[in-house]
Each structure stands twice: as structure tokens, then as C-alpha cells.
Subunit: 419 residues, 2 copies
């Protein structure tokens, strides 16, 4: 029984992890545009056509020659003759033509008739039969959406590896694209170990506690669009764990085992993973708090993560290592993270050489943000995440913080206003 | 044909909107904990038990009296006698007792035996049969998770109106809670109007363009957990629009009609909504850019939104008005928004009295953030959202920005590093 042979820093461990899976990419699949939001784009999507497909009106009004109405004003309206109409559903070949002194009634989205070079909005005109009085000048090309000004044929619309957002869906729809190639969802096998655990819903009345880490991790995985294979609580038996992983490894992209990752009396997960044929340790033991016993093995091109059985340590391990690995499988980036600059409300000490993830409560008072470190910092203390709304990351070399120091805090939930 | 009678500011319009629906709350429903992530908590959830339920060990090791090992060191190990074992699945009534000079083998999560006041980790001990040598002192209560230190019976775990995050799921699981009361998903009826539009997938070869605003809005609604009833593209006929809404109003929480909201030649949406029995205008016409023709009506306690048919204007109208209304239906808050402080790369002019939402491209270069306003700012120009990755909001009173001014930008996508 001894401590970890050597602890890695977070950066070292992450670098080794990403290096180990750099050639492992998910395969792609085709989904309807409607179902593509939040999926990772699997190819460079180019515009197949120009958008707009032709010069079109951006408003309802009258297509005119701007030079004809240069001097128009409410007291001096310019009279034009209406010679036709351009509607959005008109055949492009039968458009009327605008000669000097003429106008064409036109609707939003309709093609600009030949000869016209601007559109005057209906609200600045008065009409009687085919006579039109324009009471305001209009600029050259005003209210005209020019062919290809939004997208030109061949433009890159969405790059491979981009997470599809609602506006990408809109842009692709405007181009008439009905389905897109996306990376398939990563499949993640998850299982807990630990004699002390019982399954949520269990009627076991011994001293066991409910397994809370696995439901939390499943929710985290669901939030980044993974398919989860849940193997529940494994018996405390390395051979069983090893066989379970071995049997399903080919059909999953990633494995997460929680618990049994320290070097205690019965921490059997490293033992199980060492037994796995072809397994290679990437790292085990990290200079971080919480989450020190986090580890990862590589078997073929699959990562097997060992996360702490303690929920907060597992949460930090997930955010720091599992998420980046999942993003790497598609070459994508995480969404931008909400942060605020805040003043620490009390002195904080920490050992150097360890990266610390401190749960804080962020609030705003008189337009200044404050971050109050939560007193309970045990790695099992879930209430620091539910009571807090932010995480303060302190780098290895930092010895602590003085009261009132300004820090950047990651916001996990909305902050409160305090008088 | 004339302009809007009076334009509201964004703040006025939003205030009137939220006032109009302040008594409209969604009903609640019960879902399994597993399916509760991202749903809005519908009641104050209190801890039904203490967590931990008893004093338990946080590590694998030996339960001891700290006073017995005060002087322990590698060169002077203290010998204790092992008198039993405490396992996580042990009956709490049959625990061994620790007397002076004794220790009990203990596992993570197992109850602390009577008499013991701390746990020494296995890695600091050597064992031979029932003899134990401890080579390090331990602090009073060290490695013990105290009954109720995470949650005490009756503690508020999740407040009504909080969006359930993975750590809430974890906390509720630790308490043995298998299902939670959440607000049901808001039901939103959405339809487009506009003769110029054709449905995605349509083979219409006239001058019509694909409806891109509705697919984008559906994705935005999906992202905040709404159920969408999609009525497609409505014929350009106010009576038809009015009847469609009237028929389904009772079974939805919110209606969004896009297009036809300006005051052009055929902008029929306000006409349709005026005809709706009992309809009351909340606002129509906002001092914002894009999104000026945004409007909202109240019918009974349902909001009917009129959003621009132009995708970017509809996007801004959705973010500024529809989202806050949806959050108000459950008393919840939006997730914190990612922002950065950035330097504007060029001069920007804007009319005063109008709130502007400017699409920018944010990048980082040598540790400084820059925001480059995108040239194309037409409200139909979707590419400003796909090429950009941020939105810069300029308040009514601002006249513009000088090159190099520092501003806060909302990040919609990851930023890039530039040399």
C-alpha cells in the first residue's frame, strides 16, 4: 500500500490524453437539418447557390430609379407612373421594366425589375390608380438585397467540427439544404464501483449510500449529446470489471468507471485496467484538488477514464479531462464559458503545486461582483455545487488569495443581486 | 400607409410584456430524476434525510483514536490492535468498538465505530494479522464525513424556478429522490407568413426563397426545452391567420408569427391579430436595430409574438422578448451568458435613440480580445451570424464607438486565436 508513484500536473495529463487519441475520430452520419441542432458538423458545408438568388426587395414598396426622386419631399412629391407589379412568386422571365418616370409596385422578397435601382418604402408614397406620389428621396440600391450578398456559391457556410447552432440551421435552410453530415454521437459506457453504493430506488436498508455520481455524470454526458450505456454498480471484483469493459469496448468510444481509483485497501479499478489486454496507462494521479485520483488508460484507441467516486471530484475530473477528450473525437470546441471578474470575500490558502477548483457563491452588489468561497470543500460535498454558482480555478503556483483580490470565476448558474 | 404610431424602447416593451403575463404560470408535472436535467424545478425540494446519513469514512484505512497516534512517524510507528472491520454494507447495530490502543479496519463510506474519532489512510499503515503500525499522526475527525454535513434534513436543495443541472441531479440522487416536480414544457405554436417564402424541401421554381427563419426559431425553442407546434407557411390572408391562432390558442402557451409585421403593402399580421377576439396590443414597433417591427399581443393570458420575417431580426427579437417571456412562465432565469471585454477594431456610428445589436467577430491576439464589427448589417443577412461569433449591444444613448474602445461582447460561439 503506497501513494501514487508520480503525480502529473493537469496540463501534462491532458496533453498525454489528447496525444493518445489524436488519430481517433468518430464516424459521420446524415441527419435532417431539423434534427441537426447541437450536433457537430462532419464536413465543410459550402453554399450550393447564391443567397439572395437574385437582386430582391427588402421591403414592400415601389421599385424606382433613384435619380427620378432625388428632389422628392412631403411638400414637393414626385409623380411617377406605375407600370406593373413584381411579386415574390413571379416568374423571373416576365418582370415589367422601369423606364424614366416609371415605378413598379414591389413586395418583400420580389425580384428588382430591370431599369430600377432602388426601392422606396410604401409608407413614403401615396397612390391613386396607376399614379404614385413619392415624398422622400431614396439612395442608390436602397432596400435592395443584392444577389449573393449573404452567401456566394462555394462560400464556406459551416466548417467541419463546428457545433451547429440555431443560426447555422437558419443559414443552411436559406440555402435549401435539407440534411447535413454530422459526427455520430459518442457512445460512452459508464459504471460505478464501490461496496458502499446502492442504486437509486433501492430498498437496501444497510449502511449503503445512494450512488449519486453516476446519475450526475449521465446528465453531464447527455448535455453534450452522448449516448450512454449504463452498466450500473459493478461488483467489487477486478476480473468482473475487466471482463465487462473488454466485452463492450469495441462498441463504445469511451469508458468511465467511477470509484475505486485511489490506492486504498480495495481500490480495484487500476487492477482491473492493468489486466485488460493491451491496456496502456496514460496517467493516474493528478496534482489537482479535488480529483487527485483521476486517471486514464488507453486500450486500442479507446480511453478508459477512472473518476473519483466522490461526486464533486468526479465532476471536476469530467470537466477537466472527459469533456476535452469527447470534443477531440470530433475536432470540436466547447461552447464559450460564462465568466465574471469578482472580488474574493475572504482570504484563501492553498498548497502550491496543486491546481485547485474552488466552489464559490457569486453575487452582485452595487454593480460589483463578489465571490464567496464555500466553507465545505470535501470532495464528496455535493452541496458546494448546489449552493454555489461558480468555480474559481487557482493555478499550481498560486499560494492563496487575499481578501478583496480580483479573480475570474466560471459561472455555473445565474448569480444573485444582493443589496 | 404610414409608419408605426409610436415606437417603444426595448425596456418599455419588455416591461409591458412581462407585466401582461405576470399571473400566467405553467402547470407542473412529475418526471423521473433521470429525465429532469435542464427542466425547471416546479417546487422547493427539501432534503428528506441527512447526508451523510451517519459519520462515515471518506477513505479506506483504519478508524483510530487520534490521541493514540499523536507521536507516530516513519521512524517511530505506533502499534495498535485491530479489533474488527467496518464495511459500507454493515448493519449499523453490530459495529465493533474502538478502545485505547485499538483500531478498526474501515472502508470508504463505512460507518465510524464508536470510540474512534478519525481515520488514518491505509497508505500510512503496515499490517500483520491483527497488528497495525501507524507511521503518521492524524487530526481529530480527519477523513470523517460528518452526518448531515452535506445536507441536513429540511435543507433547501433546489429552489422552485431553478433549472436542474447535472449536479442537482447528483444531489437529489444522493438523497434517494427518484422523481421531481418540474414545470411542463411550454407549448409554442409557430407559423410563417409571406408570399415570398417556400417550405424547405419544396420544388417550387418561381422566385420564392426558402423559409429560413422558422427552422432557426424552432431550433432556438428546442434549445430551451419548448414543445413546438409548427403550422408552416400560412397563406397571406389575415382571416386565415386569425382563425388558425384562435382555434389553437387554448392548447398552447405562446404563439410566434414571423413576417408581415412591418407596415408595408401587405403586412397582414397586425390586421389578423386585431381581429382576434379579446386581443390587446402590448407593443408593436421597437427602437431597436434589427427587429424594429417586433410586436406582441395578449389574448386571454397568451402572448402572440410578431417577429420579423428576416432571420437576424427574428433572432434578436427572439432573444430580447420571446426568451424572457418563456422564462417568466416558470419564474426561472436564463443560464449565465458568456461575455468578453474586447477592443473594437474600427469606428462605428449609430443613430441615437435606437438600441443596436451588432454582429461581430471576436478573436484573441497576444492575450487581448478584439471585436470586428461585420460589414453586412442588413437584417436578412444570416451570414453575419454564421461568420461572426459575438453580439455587441449598444444602448439607445450611444452615438457610436471609436476604434480601440473597449466593449463587452456576448459570445455566441468559440473565438479564434490569431497571431
Amino acid at each position: 500500500m503506497s501513494g501514487f508513484r508520480s503525480l502529473s500536473t493537469v496540463d501534462e495529463a491532458l496533453k498525454r490524453l489528447l496525444e493518445a487519441i489524436k488519430d481517433h475520430k468518430l464516424s459521420v452520419e446524415e441527419v435532417s437539418l431539423e434534427n441537426s441542432v447541437d450536433r457537430i458538423c462532419g464536413e465543410d458545408l459550402l453554399a450550393p447557390v447564391d443567397i439572395p438568388p437574385f437582386n430582391r426587395s427588402a421591403v414592400d414598396g415601389y421599385a424606382v430609379r433613384y435619380i427620378d426622386v432625388l428632389s422628392a419631399s412631403p411638400s414637393n412629391p414626385i409623380e411617377l407612373k406605375i407600370v406593373g407589379v413584381s411579386e415574390a412568386d413571379y416568374d423571373l422571365g416576365t418582370l415589367p421594366k422601369v423606364n424614366p418616370g416609371e415605378a413598379v409596385e414591389i413586395y418583400t422578397g420580389a425580384p428588382i425589375p430591370f431599369g430600377a435601382d432602388s426601392v422606396i418604402m410604401a409608407e413614403f408614397c401615396k397612390r391613386d390608380g396607376d399614379k404614385l406620389w413619392v415624398s422622400k428621396p431614396v439612395a442608390y440600391m436602397q432596400n435592395i438585397s443584392v444577389k449573393g450578398e449573404d452567401f456566394k456559391t462555394g462560400d464556406l457556410v459551416v466548417a467541419k467540427g463546428v457545433k451547429l447552432k440555431p443560426w447555422h440551421v437558419g443559414a443552411l435552410a436559406s440555402l435549401g439544404i435539407v440534411s447535413v453530415t454530422v459526427y455520430r454521437k459518442p457512445v460512452v459506457l459508464i459504471a460505478s464501483t464501490g461496496l458502499e453504493l446502492k442504486q437509486l430506488g433501492s430498498e437496501d436498508h444497510s449502511g449503503k449510500i445512494y450512488d449519486s455520481t453516476r446519475p450526475m455524470l449521465k446528465a453531464l454526458l447527455k448535455n453534450i449529446n452522448c449516448t450512454v450505456l449504463d452498466f450500473g454498480i459493478l461488483p467489487d471484483e477486478p476480473t468482473y470489471t475487466m471482463k465487462t469493459i473488454s466485452k463492450h469496448l469495441e462498441s463504445v468510444d469511451l469508458v468511465i468507471i467511477t470509484g475505486g481509483t485511489s490506492l486504498g485497501l480495495r481500490d480495484a479499478t487500476p487492477e482491473a485496467l492493468n489486466m485488460l489486454e493491451g491496456s496502456k496507462l496514460i496517467f493516474h494521479g493528478v496534482r489537482m484538488r479535488p480529483g487527485k485520483p483521476t486517471g486514464a488508460y488507453l486500450v486500442k484507441d479507446r480511453i478508459i477514464f477512472m473518476l473519483s467516486g466522490f461526486p464533486v471530484a468526479a465532476f471536476i475530473g469530467f470537466k477537466v479531462f472527459v469533456e476535452p477528450a469527447i470534443y477531440a473525437l470530433t475536432g470540436s470546441k466547447p461552447d464559450p464559458q460564462p465568466t465574471v471578474k469578482a472580488y474574493v470575500t475572504r482570504r484563501l490558502a492553498k498548497p502550491t503545486g496543486v491546481k485547485a477548483y474552488i466552489r464559490v457563491r457569486v453575487y452582485r452588489s452595487q454593480n460589483r461582483f463578489y465571490a464567496e468561497p464555500l466553507r465545505l470543500t470535501g470532495s464528496g460535498i455535493l452541496s458546494t455545487l448546489t449552493r454555489g454558482n461558480g468555480i474559481l480555478v487557482l493555478e499550481e503556483e498560486v499560494e492563496g488569495l487575499e481578501e478583496g483580490e480580483e479573480v475570474e470565476v466560471l459561472l455555473t448558474q445565474p448569480f444573485e443581486e444582493v443589496e
